[in-house]
Symmetry: D3
Subunit: 281 residues, 6 copies
């Protein structure tokens, strides 16, 4: 159950309206790596959690904070849309340069939402539930969370560079700091799980003996040139401490040429002229 | 430029057809964390790369391998669809139990693809370019890659448990082993970048002085109960070594109650009865 | 800002697992008219609101309750997935009838979410931000809310009929009752706005003189047969009290045949053999 | 079966081309609340209808009219795209201000459709079948129709304010008038059904005794502050006449803290360190 | 403008309900190549048409017929859903085999549409405007139409094979016959345009001198093995009569290795350790 | 299995950056008819192929070439994004005209991809697996391929007209030439299959006796006016040589008015007042 407190977690007041920037800012509200995604991702991970209570609480505490970030961004976007020319009679809209500049706004900010934020990204694509990663395996999920916070802070920083509005920058400096915490937090949680499971590989509970172990540490060079040979991934013990990285300059094909039997007639696929003998039999 | 070798990287031959399992296997071909995603993600990351050549090569070598995994999965799914009842006249299809079991297949495997694999997931959703994470910042991108390989191996393992076909299990044991390598590989690459940038936080190039540093290591307890206090994320030095985790039992609201000005008339939003004085001024 | 209380608003405990029903129940969690939609719709309407404070509070109070419904449904779905056969070795899964019945579950409930709820509907489509209606005009928005609660209660009732699990039915009886309240609530709010604006037509602030008033109350019979003549919409004063419904048995075409000029050459559209004289000039 | 009459229902001729406005006008053609939506929504409702013939006819008459509105909008958009610079050699396109202004057009209007309208909204999102509401319950469906006409007229009005082209405004004045009728029409049909079913709550056919009636008229205040107490929804008899609105200042949690059992091993979820006793047993 | 005739173009009455088949039949209603697609594709092509009147009329006549096919399919699907178990109390639904078989239906046929057809395909994906091909170039568009009718008839035939209901087969035999006509019709129209434009290549209006003509008829063998050498595409005069097919066993790379400059700092991409000299300069 | 060669198939170097054109160029990378579509379409067709080896090889050779086109377009787009203003402090960005012009770029090119190409079209819609046509019937599939190459070349030509950058035009002249080949190639392959199957109608393997042959060559005039009578489709022998085109000026309704039975009560559809006798019984 949730409870709403009317105050914002942090102020969300621009110096001046800027409908073109409002469109850009949508990215960290309703984009793949935006606040709607992390709010919903942590919510689904937490509510679905079948693991220790402390992880459930960690996830739901953070989900709840992300809802407050959604609130801040909606508020900021709504204010960036204040006073935007919405009427062709207005003086501003008659200036060809203003009119040209307004080409950079999302027309739905006027026509659809009436000067409100949208559940969409900076290109206008609607937010999708497919962005949510929630698998029940916490190491996979915490890595997903770290990824989303990494892209999230990167995008907030890029938006910071694109603005010279002190109010916008102030709010972003708060969100960027929180992303610093959240990256640290998920790294800490990842580290705790990796130690507990004595493995770096997800899922740790699958017996290694069941995988084709002879290829578990091979790096395959699938291109001309060997620049990829120079990295840590091609040399020395594997990161999980269970093997040695092995650079394979010319990776073999372990399998045969595939052959598919003709389809039965009622499927009406094209039937081959000659039924070749399958090479694998 | 690419070149195609007709042999499969590893064999993809089931013991027997199983159209219901074919539907499930679509997840690691065309799902959020499937082989189409990693192939396209590494391809876009690699081709867009403005960083060191060795990373570009690493990405494109791996992208090229993932295309071979797409090939193996398409082949396996096509073979799992062999001999499936596609005609209501067939004896098999007249058995009510067989008919009931066929309810579990994806009807598009007959009607749309004519016994071929689809660019879709196990629930039938088509693959989307929105699954691709490629930001130009390699630490964000490598974390994204590790995440996708973590979910990917987890899903392959779950599919391994759901099958008793030795051919399917053999192919999955190869893909699972490659996912072991790819998790190790991205951990190695992440580690290399983190050391080089002397930071764990993405992007490392944004001056910390510009973020609201007083909240950069606070953990906010946004719920009743303090189970979340027990983790590494709430105690001791932060993972990036630049602060101390600080557990805040009752997080404050730093901002005021938001107030939005009424919309101009030509927007035709609802106008408030009374224009309240904005609280923030 | 939000705060999380760990107790559920209402209990969400089925008598027994039922993975096939879990798939169906997804509809009112992640479908077009599900709890994710109403939570996000009321949240965006409330946070974007430029009207009276009491409406903003009404919207955010209800949004906050809907988050609790999301929580209940996720919990119920996760429990319906308990003990589901996830391993082909299990006795249950070897029974062909059980296996057939499992064809009715969403394979992503095992492969993707690891026995957790998904942000998706009962056919497996991911939730989309396009489901959210939030226009800034409260009469339009409250009607949208009433619509969503009407479909929502209807779907919950259909799911009630499809279950004989007393735990599921108990939880649904609570959600159905809340939908009774929410339909009543939005009808009350609609009524208040309609009275205040002295009009039933959205938006009330657009001068009627600017619309083509001679067709504002015509009912056009665009088909053979006149069954549609018998309703209230074709007889008597219009509902807004500003006109008379007028049944037009043979609706005229007010416009000419359209003619489009050939495209300029650089567009490379097909060019007509003869440039016909436009009929409208 | 349908029949096409070549004349337009109303003229659709702008004074002058305007490709930027063409992009905006797409909203009421291919957006969530556009003419494609209402045409398809009424078509599916009508063709699926299992209720009285007069409602079926009402729905199909209106669906058929909406197809004529699709036709008008496609025509208008195509004409707004006439003469748009499509060649970098043109004088107009060499003017930096013209070029800047063209940033506001949808590039697909040239590259994809060759100066034709698209089945998409003003942000470029393609129309989706998920916009269609058609449930078989006419009260739910008519409310959905009223909602779509309310948003539809609101958007048409906003587009009217954004234009100073007399031809565009003339066509919009016709569409706005028809939306006046259609709002009136659905209000009339809603009223008829509500009277016939002696209830305002959808579906009326579900016995109230089966819902948790003690919460059917409670308003829950899920936030600090009680502005929401002032409305009709919190005071007096409920709108359906079957209860009394009851404002609950501090809504209780009726349910316990949820607990989920650990997942079986083959799912490879994270296993908790300690199996806590479930609190609910 | 359109007009609706209440009679069906052809009868759409199954012998008996079959909710599992209803799900399959959705493919040719709301799938990529279904009747909604061709109706909307021909409608947009026709209404956007800037070419000869006879093509416009051809397109709109056919679009109008396809609307009648939508009507037939909706009716058939609704009838296939008659009497389906929708209540867990029903005897039928208590039979485990019936229950298992019902796993093959689309749950939205009960929960969402109340026994009505959906604007979706056989896997439950909603219809999308992105399926529509309408470019303004009639040769491209007529080829698109032929493609859609080819897939459409193929799918209808597959569905015919999957049914033993004489009513379903009767309706499909009509739709299949119409697809025979429509394939013939578009082939005729394609042939007419090709002759008129004296070219087979779209667009015919682009001067061949501007394309890199030395590669205009090369077939590139991008794989080991030369099975592809045996076809008409690798031998003799090109189909457009303007060149000779040329089989290139080892296709060259005409371009250099690409090099991308590092991103400017405010983008916060990863910066390479060493700025390599670009190879292309 | 695939192998990567680092050289580009053809050079992809613009004269100068142009972020607005970069957005437009996305269409032929990630749009419905872009290079991602043809690469994936030919890959799925080829890998799923159950027909002659030469067709499989043809498909996979071409798929492999299209991957090289993806590579060229990503490279070109990345270079068009070089030096774009990404910082509000830059001189260029302070020029209102530059700022206005930048409204025409896709903000995700900075915020999301960090100056890299996106798997999306020119309006920002992400690429979708639903674009792929692969049916197992080669005549349907080759027609689909010809269609995609026809739209593809048309779009490349339109983009050629929209550019005056010699580097862009040079690369496009190569892609346009390859599309000339690919159109020729698929026409050749279509011709080969049509001759072999002695039919033009897909699928050729369905007995004509099973379709409703009396309507197989009728052209139905579903509109007022008979412009559509003038074409090849309405006169003379049908293209498949098996019938005569027949123009039907007033197409009949072969079916009755449809009637749907009321839904059973547990569906809670609206119940008609009177149960009319179905007209068809």
């Amino acid at each position: 159950m949730f409870f709403h407190i009317k105050e914002l977690q942090y102020d969300a007041a621009p110096e001046r309206p800027d409908p073109v920037y409002a469109k850009k800012l949508q990215e960290i509200l309703g984009g793949h790596y935006g606040e709607m995604t992390v709010a919903m991702q942590y919510l689904f991970q937490g509510l679905n959690s079948r693991a220790d209570k402390k992880y459930r609480d960690l996830l739901l505490d953070t989900a709840t904070e992300e809802l407050a970030h959604v609130e801040m961004l909606v508020t900021m976007i709504a204010r960036l849309l204040d006073d935007a020319p919405v009427d062709v009679q207005e003086e501003a809209a008659k200036d060809p340069l203003v009119e040209a500049a307004l080409g950079g706004r999302n027309p739905q900010h006027v026509i659809v939402s009436g000067l409100g934020a949208l559940p969409a990204d900076s290109a206008g694509n609607f937010w999708s539930g497919s962005y949510v990663g929630a698998s029940g395996n916490l190491l996979a999920d915490f890595r997903d969370n770290l990824t989303k916070e990494s892209h999230g802070r990167l995008q907030a920083v890029r938006l910071y560079e694109l603005s010279d509005d002190s109010g916008v920058k102030d709010m972003l400096s708060f969100l960027i700091a929180r992303d610093t915490m959240h990256q640290n937090q998920w790294i800490a949680a990842i580290s705790e799980i990796e130690q507990r499971e004595c493995d770096l590989v997800v899922p740790a509970t699958f017996p290694r003996s069941l995988e084709k172990q002879e290829v578990s540490y091979d790096f395959y060079n699938f291109s001309r040139g060997e620049e990829s040979k120079k990295g840590r991934w091609a040399n020395g013990p594997s990161m999980d401490g269970k093997g040695l990285f092995n650079y394979v300059a010319s990776p073999p094909a372990y399998g045969p040429k595939p052959f598919l039997f003709p389809a039965p007639l009622p499927v009406h696929d094209t039937i081959p002229m000659v039924h070749p003998k399958p090479s694998k039999i």
